[in-house]
Amino acid sequence: MTTPHDKSKRRSALGSDPFLKVVREDETSVKPEIPVEVQAEAKTQAETDFENDPEFKATKKTLEDLGKELDEFHRDPKNYNRKKLEGLVKDFIFELKSLLADSGYFARIREAMTGDHMSWTGVIKGLRRFIQSDEVDDYGLDRQFEMAIKPFFDFLYYKYFRVEVSGIQNIPYGGRTLLVANHSGVIPMDAAMMKVAIFNEHPSKRDLRFLVDDFVFHFPFMGTIMNRIGGVRACPENAERLLNHDEIVSVFPEGIKGISKLFKDRYQLERFGRGGVIRLAMKTKSPITPVAVIGAEEIYPLIFKSHILARPLGLPFIPFTPLFPFLGPLGVIPLPTKWKIHFGDPIQFNQYTSNDLNDDILINRETENLRQCIQAMIKQGIEERQSVFGM
């Protein structure tokens, strides 16, 4: 866990300080010139400060090396020596460990285990106190658990994927909002990163509620963990209830088809369900904020997927990437692509009445419009980025 001071430094260094942007946009109407200059200065100052940070330098170097290796691997996968890549990945794991040690994560665990250090029950009770609180909210979210696993996601967010966020001012301080995003990555990390993005970058620190596919709840541990960090089962009743209680809900209308896209089909949006999203927005009168996530498609380049092998396991499909399953557990590590999350302008659905809910043609048209909107945002984002790994 980083200290607040440290965090602000890091944020601005990555050039994605949304709070500054929000302030700037508010102030442009009054004094357009002066704040921009001041902020630009402050930004360069912070950036130079940050780049001298040895920790940052080390991480950047490892990442650069890894990027180069991956580029090489992409060029000639057949004659590539995997040993080197494995070594680099191991370096990364070491970095993660040292990061946790530096940030006082282990110290916090030790702190939580006040009292009996010697007996086994004391240790177990202490650990439990660290990861569980006594209460959960109405949907099963446990803040203590969320905070206990947050450092890992912060590492992914700031250091691994180096997420760049734009348009965070489109998320309101209060009230309901439906975020509709493209779904990608075999393990859907886009939902997690969106959650971290809103929590870290938005001044109101709002909680994102995400909807989880049914099959997850059939598996041990997975469903429970998802539930404790605020995920609920993806069904209209849940989404409606959440929106009626003025929460931010993220929806991926592509569903499983979205995360099982082959590498050649990346960033081509699938069909958006059967218009459930638009119907939901109309029913609850909530605005839709389209979201484009760039970079998440390349974390696991899917070259082949098997449905037959997956059926006995109860999974929707089994992925085959250049690293998985051939590298074993190391193949589960995602590639360190550079991510960009863009929150678009909200679309209002206030003009529709409850009679329009039965108008299937209207709903299909709106769904298609929404899909086109997100596709255009993705296209723009891809054109803007220089390289996949952001070196």
Partner: protein, 351 residues
């Protein structure tokens, strides 16, 4: 927890005051309670005895209530599942001039003798509904349970009353409850003038409650299923009685979920009450528990383990809006009350 409102105006009679719902009733109403040995029936009988606006009431069961100091009670011994029970019931109702029937005679526990359990739940309810139809009762209150929704990974987080009941429940216990509900639901069409109230209680916990869940929770080593930690919902028995009183003394049509405030994950509840969990592998747990159930070593058949694995939390908004019923204790508090009473009992037994 409790409302701080001693200062609330005495005019709003419906708001739960410190002593709960006062229960002023129409004096012409004649109440018949079926099932004196279930927790709800027992509590209701005790309340009716204390309530001053009730001059007399009738109880139908196979065995008389154990408490002998019930002055206002008239006991009628009747077997609900004997052949021709419906005619006998109708005859008795006619003789009494009954207007309100409270049906609490449903099983709290799954039973190994599932044929008898089925007879009691489904045929007993059928006899009662047909007798009620024949004598044109004014009101029919049926105490059901939220297990009728079934536990599954496909349930929404909060199940509302309009959600379809479990279509293919594995356990006889659930199947019988669903069938009984269907019998009662027929009354909506067959006797439209009758006020049919169905109360679906979640797990009732408290010092006196005895059901398959409390049997498990009274142990110090509680078996759970590894990797599954469903959100649970409990209601304290006093809150449950409060809801039943509202249903008996006021007129509300249709099904209502009667649930405690909030939710608590099963493991958290167990941890807070100081129980030790014994996690079992899911695929081993089902056959093992079924075997133990057949040997009567545990109170739960294997198929009912779904209720320890998946979500079956019900939404209490409708009862809050229409019946003005809100549980005073949250799920967590209800569980802790139960655990406290359990612990006291244990110490008193030891000494």
């Amino acid at each position: 927890m409790t409302d701080s409102g001693n200062n609330s105006t005495p005019t709003d009679g419906k708001a739960p005051t410190e002593h709960g719902f006062a229960g002023k009733m129409d004096t012409t109403d004649k109440i018949v309670v079926v099932g004196a040995h279930t927790i709800l029936g027992e509590m209701l009988i005790h309340h009716l005895e204390k309530n001053e606006s009730v001059s007399e009431f009738w109880v139908i069961d196979l065995h008389a209530p154990t408490k002998t100091s019930l002055k206002k009670m008239h006991f009628i011994r009747l077997d609900l599942i004997a052949p021709g029970a419906d005619a006998k019931l109708a005859e008795q109702f006619e003789k009494i001039g009954a207007t309100v029937l409270v049906h609490c005679a449903s099983k709290n526990n799954p039973s190994l003798n599932w044929v008898y359990a089925h007879e009691l739940e489904v045929i007993g309810t059928l006899n009662l509904t047909s007798a009620a139809k024949a004598v044109k009762l004014r009101k029919f209150v049926f105490c059901s349970s939220t297990v009728v929704y079934g536990a599954s990974a496909k349930n929404p987080n909060y199940i509302s009353e309009s959600h379809p009941l479990a279509s293919r429940p594995g356990a006889h216990f659930v199947k019988d409850k669903v069938d009984a509900e269907k019998q009662v639901a027929k009354l909506y069409e067959d006797a439209p003038q009758m006020i049919v109230t169905v109360l679906r209680f979640c797990l009732i916990l408290g010092p006196r409650s005895e059901n398959y869940f409390t049997e498990l929770f009274r142990r110090s080593l509680v078996p759970t299923i590894l990797g599954y930690d469903p959100l649970m919902q409990f209601i304290h028995e006093r809150d449950a009685l409060e809801a039943l009183k509202i249903a008996v003394f006021e007129d509300h049509r249709g099904p209502f979920n009667i649930v405690g405030k909030g939710i608590i994950p099963l493991s958290y509840a167990l941890r807070l009450s100081g129980k030790v969990q014994l996690p079992m592998l899911s695929f081993l747990a089902y056959p093992t528990v079924q075997l133990l159930w057949n040997l009567q070593a545990v109170a739960v058949p294997g198929r009912l383990l779904d209720f320890f694995k998946f979500l079956w939390v019900a939404e209490g908004e409708k009862a809050k809006n229409l019946m003005k019923f809100e549980a005073r204790l949250s799920s967590k508090e209800a569980f802790l009350e139960f655990a406290k009473a359990d612990r006291l009992e244990r110490y008193s037994l030891a000494s």
